[in-house]
């Protein structure tokens, strides 16, 4: 082991890239997954035939996206990614497949969290004349906030391991560093540094998430 040969500026760049990927894909995952989860929840508990149909269709799509292995999904999405962001590699190229893979996962977490919200409270809001939109915004989301934050934490931690996988196809970040130097060139030092960095990153993210959950829990 000789850590003196390690080019630290590359490690630094890769770390920053990983953080960029996480931030952007995390943001879009929540922006897409949250509404999707709310729609899944609302249509899932409704009795109307059109809602039931919507639920079944969305549910099948979500299940399909969740059952395709991520490494396959990246490759399959290359044409789509190219048209969307102009490239299929690097930081930019890895974000669309990450979001498409993580958003359905997060949507299911959201759906499950919303199911935990006390039905009586929703009913009380209905009895007070709240519209569906008001129930979502003023009852469901605030009541489920701690659970949603826990879901976001789990999703982002999952994204960390996905970014590493994206390294296989040149996705940028610590994953690419580990694959290119640590695996292909047998530079164990780089491998260790990359893995340790990711462990520290996951620990930090989980800790922040847990703190936020505790802060917003009122029960």
């Amino acid at each position: 082991m000789d850590f003196s040969k390690v080019r630290w500026e590359e490690v630094g760049t890769a770390s920053i890239e990983t953080l960029q990927i996480l931030a952007v894909s995390g943001l879009f995952t929540v922006l897409l997954g949250l509404p999707l989860g709310v729609i899944l929840f609302m249509t899932g508990r409704s009795a109307s035939p059109s809602s039931k149909l919507t639920y079944i269709i969305l549910s099948v799509i979500v299940n399909i996206l969740r059952s395709v292995p991520f490494i396959i999904l990246i490759v399959a999405l290359i044409p789509f990614t190219r048209t969307l962001v102009g490239t299929a590699t690097g930081v930019l190229g890895v974000i669309p497949p990450l979001v498409i893979s993580a958003a359905p996962y997060f949507a299911r977490l959201v759906e499950n969290t919303l199911r935990e919200v006390d039905r009586g409270v929703i009913e009380a809001a209905q009895a007070m004349g709240a519209s569906t939109a008001q129930i979502v915004r003023r009852v469901l989301l605030p009541e489920a906030l701690p659970g949603l934050l826990a879901g976001i934490t789990i999703t982002i931690v999952t994204l960390v391991s996905y970014t590493a996988m994206a390294g296989m196809v040149g996705g940028g970040g610590l994953g690419t560093l580990a694959i290119n130097y640590g695996y292909y060139r047998y530079q164990n030092e780089i491998m260790i540094i990359s893995v340790v960095s990711m462990i520290i990153l996951v620990q930090l993210l989980q800790m922040i998430g847990d703190r936020l959950v505790i802060y917003f829990t009122r029960k």
Partner: protein, 403 residues
């Protein structure tokens, strides 16, 4: 008002010999209603006229032919069947029934949390079953509701919980602040306004529920087993609060319960529900003192300590060995109001010369009105006993010969 089919000319007009005696609504409406009904020229206008007791009662809620079934065809279970109910303005109306009798479905049908399979729900002269979704949301704001498990937002403070119904209609901030403070003062929780529900006791949570329900100035308050999760002392304080609110705002209150003492403490009228239908209804004093239906009797006697078992024991042991020429009679004597305080019984027996033994008795109050009910065995000359009974009846007591 006459144009919309959702409205109708309500029981604001009580008839006695076709003459308007209500103060609530001008006679013009009545004449118009009678005319339209006679001619039948306005099929879209729903006109219903009831014969009242001449007291000028106004109906706030009317349920017509309410039926609710769950499930489909072969597996269908009926929760309510062809139920009719009229609730007057300003009264506290209680619905009592065992669990599964349909009382919860009944109260949830009043604001359409449950949509009835058949029948109409009229609240404040509007048929809720005909309304569109947004119209229904608007009408629901005039119907407050409190729940057995309070159903407060756990993520919001007491203040924000009470402000909730006002925020729904985009009330200006200062108006919300004024109203919330008024409501919290009403229920005695001013100093708790920044706490979260998890930090409150059950009674305090229900007070928040009441404040929240009243914040939108409803014309009706529905109470869905509101005291069933509370201990006896807290129950009494919540009932007292409901009674105060009823008197202060002349607010109509509908409550459902399985506890007779709740009915006895605050209700004006009561309906007994059994297997999806109302088996008995009337003023609480009447239903309480002279229950007609077996279910009602069960509720009434279960609430007086010892219950049915005691009554049976009394009946079984009432006979004792009597000397020749002396007869006995087992009688239930009931009295209400100021008669409770008078010495009618002892005065009468002194005059007629019969003896008596009290075998069972209750002296209590029904909504602050005193009443008494005694099971008494009279002993003596049979003619003297008959005279005793007729004198007691003449004094205004209710006498029922059991044996």
């Amino acid at each position: 008002m006459l144009g919309a089919n959702s409205y109708r000319i309500m029981l604001h007009m009580i008839l006695a010999d076709e003459k308007v005696i209500s103060r609530e609504e001008p006679s013009l409406y009545l004449q118009r209603a009678l005319f339209l009904r006679r001619t039948g020229s306005f099929p879209f206008l729903r006109v219903k006229i009831y014969v009242g007791d001449g007291e000028g009662a106004v109906l706030v809620i009317e349920l017509v032919g309410l039926t609710k079934t769950y499930g489909r065809r072969t597996k269908a279970t009926t929760a309510l069947s062809h139920l009719d109910l009229k609730i007057q303005k300003g009264e506290i109306f209680g619905v009592i029934g065992h669990s599964g009798a349909g009382k919860s479905t009944l109260i949830r049908c009043i604001n359409l949390l449950e949509r009835p399979t058949e029948g109409e729900v009229w609240v404040d002269g509007i048929n809720l079953t005909e309304l569109s979704k947004s119209e229904l949301q608007q009408q629901r704001r005039k119907i407050g509701m409190i729940f057995q498990h309070f159903n407060l937002l756990s993520s919001a403070t007491v203040y924000d919980n009470v402000a909730f119904p006002l925020k729904l209609v985009n009330t200006p901030k200062d108006a919300i602040d004024r109203k919330v403070k008024e409501m919290l003062a009403l229920v005695g929780l001013e100093q708790h306004s920044s706490k979260y529900p998890a930090q409150l006791s059950g009674g305090q949570k229900q007070r928040v529920g009441i404040a929240r329900a009243l914040a939108s100035d409803p014309s009706v308050l529905l109470c869905d087993e509101a005291t069933s999760a509370l201990d006896p002392q807290t129950t009494n304080s919540i009932l007292k609060l409901l009674l105060d609110i009823n008197e202060k705002y002349n607010l109509t209150i509908v409550l459902i319960t399985h506890e007779m003492h709740v009915i006895q403490n605050i209700c004006d009228r009561v309906a007994v529900i059994h297997q999806g239908g109302i088996v008995e209804q009337g003023p609480v004093t009447e239903v309480f003192m002279k229950p007609q239906h077996a279910i009602t009797r069960d509720f009434v006697s279960r609430d007086s300590e010892g219950g049915l078992a005691l009554e049976e024991t009394v009946m079984a042991n009432a006979e004792t060995e009597l000397p020749a020429g002396i007869s006995s009679k087992l009688v239930k004597v009931s009295f209400l109001g100021n008669k409770t305080y008078e010495a009618i019984l002892s005065r009468t027996v002194r005059k007629t010369g019969v003896d008596f033994a009290i075998l069972q008795g209750t002296i209590s109050t029904i909504k602050q009105v005193p009443y008494g009910q005694l099971t008494v065995r009279f002993e003596g000359d049979s003619a003297a006993i008959e005279q005793t009974l007729s004198e007691l009846t003449a004094e205004g007591l209710d006498v029922e010969v059991l044996r």
